[in-house]
């Protein structure tokens, strides 16, 4: 009987466990988790903070679900180190031996080394306990540092809770990694309309206060506040991997081959802790997103039980709701496509706005505000690298359009059909 140990109880780890159980009812599966709770959706944490969903609704699994699938879960335990030679996982509660190891250690909130970041009133946004702590703190005036997807969602959720919210972003626009300045400007407008103060191009220099957070100083100004929420990025959790001699890539995450195996045979890695290849560019990239983590968990799980499945690459797919308006981004931004001849196709309809980025007649990215219906067709075209010329041929020919009807929803964005 093969013994598989999974480190991590997030999206990737759980998906790996599920798929292994699906294929091999006899495998011994042990999950080792630092957090003391069954699997929950980290993506929904801002919705829990805003009160949109209850704490119970966050949880994807109950403890009984692990038992039902015959998965042994050891929670609340830190892994001290991996002994790759002996195939042992050394934890504070004893050693666990494995035949195959899957590292799904995830990521942690990046806290820049500014003075005062350890004062009471500073919060990370990663786990359900972080959100519990924010709620127990009862924030009145909050500064959210970083305006990625998490930062924007946290700012909106705090606002819904009746907080006075200021969003501070170091770069020149909000959502710099997933939106172009034009679309980001629209989203910024939505935030400011709802009373969130947004400052871009300002670096956070210090957090200060006597025994708790009282104000923050940016490169431009001083903002009085009682809460600082850190959403300035995530760092892959690679400590135990690098100590075990597992190769770390240039981006600071675990390097894996196309089968998600590390340089140590028998040790696989998936989720936020790995350096994945971008599906569109073929270059190493970190796309720390839930759908990618789940797919990587699947691939790592299958490969570790002997089914050879190559990972097709990660793709950025982000959706969010900003005060009731859905916003979505997929693929790459114009900034990520710098140096390539980017053709922009923009459109507007009944208050919604979209922006497609084409390179060499293929869709490489799309951002949409207020509309999400039909984006799946665009996503499929992007993943399959469909030429827009071919697409136009298909939708303008009734015979072809009938046979390839799945192209049709994309027509509304490409002024066709």
């Amino acid at each position: 009987m093969v013994s598989i140990v999974i480190v991590g109880n997030g999206a990737a780890g759980n998906r790996a466990a599920e798929i292994i159980r699906g294929y091999d009812p006899g495998a011994a599966i042990t999950m080792v988790a630092r957090e003391e709770s069954p699997e929950y959706s980290a993506c929904a944490l801002p919705d829990y903070l805003s009160g949109w969903i209850s704490r119970e609704q966050l949880f994807i699994k109950q403890w009984s679900d692990y038992r039902k699938s015959n998965i042994n879960i050891i929670s609340g335990v830190n892994v001290a180190r991996i002994d790759a030679g002996q195939k042992l996982l050394v934890t504070e509660q004893g050693d666990i031996s494995y035949d195959r190891l899957i590292l799904a250690t995830g990521s942690r909130t990046f806290l820049p080394p500014v003075p005062g970041h350890d004062l009471p009133g500073n919060f990370a946004v990663k786990t359900v306990t972080d959100i519990d702590a924010i709620m127990a703190h009862r924030p009145q005036r909050a500064v959210v540092v970083g305006s990625g997807n998490i930062g924007v969602e946290m700012a909106a959720s705090l606002k819904v809770r009746g907080c006075q919210v200021t969003l501070v972003e170091m770069r020149g626009q909000i959502l710099p990694r997933i939106f172009d300045p034009e679309s980001a400007g629209r989203i910024r407008g939505m935030l400011t309309t709802h009373g969130i103060r947004v400052f871009t191009g300002e670096e956070l220099m210090a957090v200060s206060g006597c025994d708790r957070v009282e104000k923050v100083s940016t490169s431009q100004q001083v903002i009085a506040c009682d809460t600082v929420v850190w959403a300035a990025g995530m760092k892959p959790e690679v400590e135990i991997a690098s100590q075990a001699g597992i190769e770390i890539g240039e981006l600071g995450a675990i390097k894996v081959d196309p089968f998600l195996q590390t340089n140590r045979p028998g040790i696989y890695a998936c989720g936020d802790c790995i350096e994945a290849v971008d599906m569109l560019t073929g270059m190493p990239a970190q796309r720390m997103l839930w759908p990618n983590a789940k797919r990587q968990g699947e691939v790592a799980g299958l490969n570790c039980i002997g089914c050879q499945v190559a990972y097709e690459g990660a793709i950025s797919l982000v959706t969010s709701e900003v005060f009731g308006v859905p916003v979505a981004s997929m693929g790459l931004t114009a900034a990520a496509l710098t140096g390539q001849p980017v053709q922009v196709v923009e459109g507007e309809c009944q208050g919604s706005h979209w922006r497609l980025l084409l390179v060499d007649d293929r869709i490489m990215g799309m951002q949409a505000i207020g509309i999400t219906a039909g984006l799946g067709a665009v996503m499929a075209m992007m993943k399959n690298r469909v030429l827009i010329t071919d697409f136009r041929k298909i939708v303008s020919d009734p015979e072809l359009a009938q046979r390839a009807a799945w192209y049709l929803p994309a027509g509304r964005f490409l002024n066709a059909g």
Binding site: C43, D47, P291, L317, A373, A377, Q402, A405, W406, G417
Partner: protein, 163 residues
Amino acid sequence: MNKHLQVEIDKCTGCGLCQLACAVNRSQQFNPSLARIKIHRIELQGLNVPSICQQCANPPCAAVCLMNVIKKDPATGITVPGHNSCIGCRACQLACPFEARTYDHIHDVMVNCDLCWGHPACVEICPTGALQYCDISSHLAAVRDAEAVKRTRVPDWERGQHG
């Protein structure tokens, strides 16, 4: 028996009755935007293409679901939207290549066609027979036969006679 919703595009007139029946049956409002079935109308070509959930074996919507609520019903093979914890994030809408996921703004959840528990309202109301609820294997056989006739321009009975 593996029954599915089948579409004969040639017969669809784009009347939209199926969308109204779907919306009122499942979301209690006569609002086509709430329908689980959609019709792509290309008016210049007189083309109306209904699109519905294909009940994929390995659904891409479930693969991206941020709450892991979209599941395949093991008994029927139907993709079940799973409303209890759906947060309406619409990731599934970005993943589905068939535009088969609809945002139900009344209940703020994402929905897809679940074949109305075996009695699809759209099929009952479709005036032209473009929508059918039938055994998938017999339907595919019929489609294949019709296609063979079209391509060879030889009627079925002749093909049968001469092999």
